[in-house]
Amino acid sequence: MDLRDLYQDIIVDHNRNPRNFRTIAGAVRLAEGYNPLCGDKLVVYAQVVDGRVEDVSFVGSGCAISTASASLMTEAVKGKTVAEAEALFTDMHELLTGKSVGDPERLGKLAALAGVKDYPARVKCATLSWHTLNAALHGEQTPVRTE
């Protein structure tokens, strides 16, 4: 197992310079995600217009896996319909837990996170932002926790 399979350049880059790392003002859906075990904490903002994710962002602090996963997620779901975003969530979950993904092409840059499946203790880091986005899209009030 090579460490570079986990910490690919794209992961390191998105950790150092997370994309869409900001809040969104106005009428947005947001949810808070927290992993009490490692202290990773983030808020995901989503602006949904006519069933489409017009804008999405996040703020918070976490490890490289959780930060890069959140950053890549915002890039991936921006402009997608809510249904498409949910399908991506399902694909990501399968990718990260080592199950075969229906259509790997669809994942694009997100596939860089595939190495996480070999690190069971780190899977929760990569899924935190996705669970949080899901909660934001569904208007759940309780903070999301992965541990």
């Binding site: 490692c38 602090s61 490890c63 490289a64």
Partner: protein
């Protein structure tokens, strides 16, 4: 426990020989020699402990205090032998003052529920410190909820030492219990427990010392300390998991009701009411961890053989070397730098989250702890979600520290540095 200069490694301490006593150390992790620096979480076990437990199961296994057959008598003698070793180790007056529990956590819960809960009233205060492990915080919060007592917390100074002036202020006529760590698991701070105990006892408070991180590094004499309770776990002292010791002053334990009911803790059982066994059995309901008590005894013998003073000198020299070497790493910030500290180093590295450090170091064979160390209030104090922690034991070497430093440089390189 002041660190010695790195040149002053004690000659008498043969670390290579000590390492040979720990079979687990002789293995590769991700193709690199294992460097085990997570000793504050749990220490590795010497062959003497493994063999004592193995022999017990192969030759003497039976339930204790019950049978008249040979194996039961043997098992009872071995189990009680562990207690005698623990009494000697803590220099308790009597073996009746040594209660076997699952570990430090259970010991503190026992005192909270059996000593504190029946006695505390609204207006009473329990004093703890900002350095405590969750296991010396939460049981007291629970008892406060149950009784209406209030929890007070001694603050810490920026270097991670207790604020002794604040301690004096907070200690008052309402303080019924003062519970304090001997050594902080998150920062390594060694608290002045003799002085604290004397002050708290003079103020009329009962004193409990959480010795989980204390016993691996310093000799403890409960009579000299004059504390009411002292608790520790075997597994941090080269013994097995699942067993620990609650020392309690005899007259205090006598006055406490049992905590758990069951076999072995009773004298007579009638449906109209039961009577309790004598100390220490009153607090040991059910079949105890017999093999683990045997393992604890073997661990204490092992520590005695090497010498706790020699171990402490070795660790202090190694800590000094580690602090010196870790300063070489750009962007590394120590979390906690109290003048009196045990061989625990907590730190963060700019641009690399502790959990990433944990994974990256593991690839270099280096096992450290990353997280909040069950001390969230300490993390909050320093404004960090987590730290990386390297903690040393008798079998660690300067080569282990060199491997840690090299792996940390590697992590910096992988993440491209920052700033």
């Amino acid at each position: 426990m002041t660190a010695l200069p790195s040149a002053a490694f004690p000659d008498a301490f043969d670390v290579a020989r000590v390492r040979r006593d720990f079979p687990i150390l002789d293995q590769a992790i991700h193709g690199r020699p294992l460097v085990y620096l997570d000793n504050a979480a749990t220490a590795q076990k010497p062959r003497a402990v493994l063999e004592a437990m193995d022999h017990y199961y192969r030759e003497s296994n039976a339930n204790v205090h019950r049978g008249v057959h040979t194996l039961s008598e043997r098992a009872t003698a071995l189990y009680e032998g562990g207690r005698d070793r623990a009494r000697a180790f803590l220099n308790a007056r009597a073996r009746e003052e040594i209660i076997f529990v699952r570990g430090t956590t259970e010991a503190i819960n026992l005192v909270a529920q059996s000593y504190a809960r029946p006695r505390l009233k609204p207006g009473d205060e329990i004093l703890i410190t900002h350095l405590e492990h969750h296991s010396n915080t939460v049981p007291w919060q629970m008892v406060c909820e149950q009784t209406g007592a209030r929890l007070k917390v001694v603050p810490i100074t920026p270097d991670g030492a207790l604020d002794l002036e604040a301690f004096e202020r907070l200690l008052g006529p309402r303080t019924r219990i003062f519970a304090v760590a001997h050594v902080s698991n998150a920062l390594g701070t060694v608290n002045p427990i003799a002085e604290l105990t004397a002050r708290a006892r003079a103020a009329g408070a009962m004193v409990l010392i959480d010795g989980a991180q204390g016993v691996p590094h310093c000799a403890v004499d409960v009579q000299a300390l004059d504390c009411d309770f002292y608790a520790f776990s075997a597994h941090k002292l080269y013994g097995p998991t699942g067993i620990g010791v609650l020392y309690g002053r005899r007259e205090v334990l006598e006055a406490m009701p049992p905590w758990q009911g069951g076999g072995d803790m009773i004298r007579t059982v009638r449906f109209e009411g039961s009577t309790w066994n004598d100390l220490p059995y009153k607090f040991e309901a059910g079949t105890p961890a017999i093999a683990e008590a045997v393992g604890l005894g073997a661990a204490l013998d092992y520590v005695d053989r090497i010498g706790l003073d020699a171990i402490a000198r070795h660790e202090a020299a190694l800590l000094s070397y580690a602090l010196e070497r870790l300063r070489e790493i750009d962007g590394l910030r120590f979390i906690g730098s109290a003048p009196q500290r045990a061989s625990v180093v907590s730190f963060v590295v700019e641009g690399v989250h502790p959990h990433d450090l944990g994974t990256i170091l593991d690839h270099a064979g280096v096992a450290i702890r990353a997280g909040h160390h069950c001390a969230m209030p300490v993390m909050d104090f320093y404004g960090v979600p987590a730290t990386a922690r390297a903690s040393l034991a008798c079998y660690n070497t300067t080569a282990d520290i060199d491997a840690l430093v090299a792996a940390l440089q590697g992590a910096r390189d992988l993440f491209g540095g920052r700033g």
